[in-house]
């Protein structure tokens, strides 16, 4: 039991230290999501739109940026693991596969949260969004929906990394299945931007929580099969 906890902390610590030293996942994630905001600004002609229209489009743009950036980050991290042959070490470690999944998921979630801390204020500035909203509600939906995306991304990411492929295949496999998470994220954010609270967005926060639980359970059960040589 204590050995497992130590191994869990070791895997988590190694990934986080590597990320802090190199920024190999976070840096492309940030750049990519920034580019998405920029392209969306041009594509939807946002500066020309009235405030109400901008508020209606912004959640969708934000979640497209978050979803793709999360997958970019996960594909980077998992491919780096593969290139340096870190998987061999991880597979030889005594760490239970479910805990290994949990560690990789937690890294993915932390990366997404750091990204969002930068991205959301940027979106507020670029799209002139209201600031007197329920920030607690926004934090909650970002946590739940990013957690779900990261869980599915971690499981499918292991598959994609096994095949030696990158972001495109990961997006093809994850995003259709993650439709409930995306709808939940966009709908809740729309309600919050209109001045509502988290319960006003029902049932969407519940959908985000339900998918999070489902994807965590599936990931915990199936990660072992995805990793085998």
């Amino acid at each position: 039991m204590r050995g497992q906890a130590r191994a869990f902390r070791a895997v988590l610590g190694a990934d986080l230290r590597r990320e802090i030293r190199t920024g190999e996942a976070l840096f492309p994630m940030l750049m990519f999501s920034l580019v998405v905001l920029l392209v969306a600004g041009f594509a939807f002609d946002l500066p020309a739109l009235p405030a109400g229209e901008r508020r209606r489009l912004a959640p969708g743009i934000l979640w497209v940026a978050i979803a793709f950036a999360t997958l970019v980050g996960q594909a980077r991290a998992l491919l780096a693991d593969r290139e340096d042959d870190r998987w061999t070490g991880l597979l030889l470690s005594p760490l239970d596969r479910t805990l290994l999944f949990a560690a990789k998921w937690l890294v993915g979630l932390l990366l997404a949260l750091v990204l969002e801390v930068v991205l959301v204020p940027l979106a507020v500035i670029l799209f002139e969004l209201p600031v007197d909203i329920s920030w607690g509600g926004l934090a909650a939906i970002l946590l739940l929906a990013s957690g779900g995306l990261a869980a599915l991304g971690t499981l499918v990411g292991a598959i994609v990394a096994r095949l030696g492929r990158g972001e495109a295949l990961l997006a093809i496999l994850v995003l259709p299945a993650a439709a409930p998470v995306l709808i939940a994220g966009v709908r809740t954010t729309t309600t919050l931007l209109a001045g509502g609270s988290l319960p006003d967005a029902a049932p969407w926060p519940g959908v985000a929580a339900g998918t999070l639980v489902l994807y965590l359970a599936l990931g915990g059960l199936l990660f072992e099969s995805a990793l085998q040589e």
Binding site: L155, L173, A177, S225
Partner: protein, 235 residues
Amino acid sequence: MHDDRRGFDWFPLATGFLVATGAALLLWAALVYAPRERTMGDVQRIFYFHVPAATNALLAFLGALVTAVGYLATRKDAWDRVLRATIETGVLWATVVLVTGPIWARAAWGAWWTWEPRLTTSLIAWLVYVGALLVRRIGHDPEQGARLSAILAIVGFADLPIVYKSVDWWRGNHPVVFGRSGGGLAPEMLRAFLLGMLGVTLVHAGLLLFRWRLARVEDAVAAAERAADMEEGLR
């Protein structure tokens, strides 16, 4: 593994017979037997193709779920051969659903696509299971391909109810034919529908058996190639 005895191979003929019988039954029930619907006209006949195709896609994906669990639990190739067949026939029926649905919707609702829960869930299921076919194509190692494909078949199926419910909450307007709020069917239409269901299911059974047999041949070829390679190596 493969039947080596010479002689007449009845298997393709038998499965071909199933497919032909089912197709004939379906076409007769939908195009000849079924009465012309009063308001929608002949377009309504798509119903006899669309609904059985959807049912059979769901059956195939359910079969894929069971065989995927069976494969991951036992790692026996026999499970994977059925898995390969069910995912492919499931994608085929889902394609039929996705083609016939918009044609009907265009005539009935005036729009090709409506983001309605069943249609949207079918599209998402189609994408997920095409993904499950894709990972098998990309990999080099068949065992790895089988494993990854099985994982996606399980994740995809577990995901579908929540996808359906989400899209339903998000948007909704599908005609409910059966059930309390449904319009119900005239007795002749119900008989045509049941015959069409039987027809599509027979076609499905024939295709599934044929594909399964093809998987056996694929595995036999792969085993023979491995054996030949090994012999080469020994020489």
